[in-house]
Amino acid sequence: MKRKNHNNRQVELPNFCHLGVNLRIALTVEAALVSGVVARASSAPAFWAEFIELSALAQPALLLTLLALCAAGRWLRSQPYRLGVGFTLTLGVAVPVLVTLWLNPLLAGSAAFPLAGVAVFSLLMGSGLLAYFNLRARALSPAITEARLQALQARIRPHFLFNSLNAVLSLVRSDPRRAEHALENMADLFRALMGNASHLAPLEDEVALTRAYLELEQLRLGDRLQVTWHIHKMPGDALIPPLVIQPLVENAVYHGIEPQPEGGEISLNIYRSADKVHIVVRNPIAADGSHHKGNRIALANIRERLLLHFDLDAQLKLEPLGAVYQVHIVIPYTRERTQPAPTHPHRR
């Protein structure tokens, strides 16, 4: 029943299958190699000759190490941190050493690489990188909290709050049942807004929240707001950062529907493709290009939270398609391990 909590104090090994982690390891190792060669080379041609020679060993070794780490990643992360570090370093030294043993006969002619040198270099690089990932994990935890606070402030527009309250007041006498339902929706919305935003939340909860929000907007805007949902292929159990869909839709209403006298249609398309969850929100582009600044702030906020949760594995793309504005989010598909899915006390 353990929730995926990125705010955890205890530091974990990085996920070696993540693109961002791989990229950081590869770039650091390459930089170390280049600087080593630069220090020794006397001229540009000598640099290239030596770099190519070194690469013949270093590139396959690096690649195989990354593959081995990714393959063993889940097991490594399940070990206590210290033990995991030990195994990771062992793997990080063993693979390059084995590669050297294998390649040295093939690279005959040029100087063979000393095994001890390879082992020491790998050990130093490995320790340095793990220290870096440890520091980074510690540094980012408060940042998530910070981002959450920031997000809390930016999220609901006061304009929406007061207009919704006004709409509910207008229903109290004529249609008390609808007024009740609207207040329930508002309660759900504000509970989520005041909740803990550092936990990932199930996609279906986020969709329910967005529906509650849209019902409130429909109350005010009536026929001007048309919504189309394409979610029959949605993986409801996927975990996503909370309050990503609702603000996107709020933006779509504020910028795409409200400025148009005749209104328009918002479409939401949520589906899974391979190991990615796609969230696509479309709205018509308003004729008067007013208030775009607020839009960028809200999107920057979402982008930052995606980065904090998923590093480079999540994407947020903005695509103006003629008369339609599209926001496309891609998030890695993760879900809670325990089956059946537990109830989520923080919402509903």
Binding site: F162, N163, L169, L221, G222, P261
Partner: protein, 254 residues
């Protein structure tokens, strides 16, 4: 203002139906304290201007944020009437506008509206001065959707999208649409800065609608003379030498 015995004739302007219904309900609650007669209810600024011209209205309850013509622009057009109605703005949340209202002693209501607040606003509502409106529009800069002229006591609205060109002549600016010409008392420079890219300057005294450009040609006989023609208009407009190169750059970028 009318005598206290006569009911106050009120027009409600808001793009959201629930907001209009709420105002009607609160006004009904106020009948003990003030006598009101709701003469109409519209959902945009354009209809509001038309309504006020068709029947006598004492006070307009005017939402600020509306699609198309917003409340501030609507108020500016209403102000061209010889006897403009009193205006009470309403808004859900608009920090800048409210600050401007306070500074200029303009009546406004915050939604959700309270009955006692509404009574107070109605009992002292008055029409706005031209300078006040100017200040409000400065706090809320947004290009107008219409220009307006007062012709024989009536306001004629000219949709900005219909304008082909604007030409400064002595004290006035001629506004040319496909159908006819109007004279307005505004400055060409201010119109240019208000509407930005909608209009292109082709001469010291002339702005043309950039969406209506048809052709640029060279005048025969002279060295540097160029003319320009717009869609739906046979007239040749002179392009000044100074504006010609800048104009060519802008056309390329369109």
């Amino acid at each position: 203002m009318n005598a206290p015995s006569l009911p106050l004739r009120i027009l409600i302007v808001d793009d959201e139906a629930p907001a209009r219904r709420r105002l009607r309900e609160v006004l009904a609650d106020c009948t003990g304290q003030i006598s009101v007669d709701i003469v109409g209810e519209v959902d945009n600024g354009l209809d509001a201007v038309n309504q006020v011209q068709q029947q006598a209205v004492d006070t307009v309850l005017l939402d600020i944020r509306m699609p198309g013509m917003d409340g501030l622009e609507c108020a500016a057009h209403l102000n061209r009437l010889s006897v403009p109605p009193a205006i009470i703005f309403s808004t859900a949340y608009d920090a800048y506008a409210c600050q401007a209202f306070d500074l200029n002693a303009v009546d406004y209501l915050l939604k959700p509206v309270r009955a006692d607040r509404l009574v107070r606003a109605l009992s002292r509502a008055h029409s706005l001065s031209a300078t006040t409106l100017e200040h409000l529009r400065e706090a809320h800069p947004k290009p107008r959707t219409h220009l307006s002229v007062n012709e024989k006591g009536r306001i004629v609205l000219i949709p900005v999208a219909d304008i082909l060109y604007l030409k400064a002549e002595l004290k006035y600016v001629t506004v040319r649409t496909a159908a006819r010409e109007f004279l307005i008392e505004e400055s060409l420079t201010r119109l240019e800065s208000e509407f930005g890219k909608t209009f292109l300057r082709i001469h010291r005294n002339c702005l043309v609608a950039s969406a209506r450009l048809r052709e640029i040609g060279k005048l025969p006989g002279e060295d540097d003379g160029h003319f320009l023609r717009l869609d739906g208009l046979d007239e040749r407009l002179m392009v000044s030498r100074r504006q010609y190169s800048a104009l060519r750059e802008k056309i390329k970028s369109i």
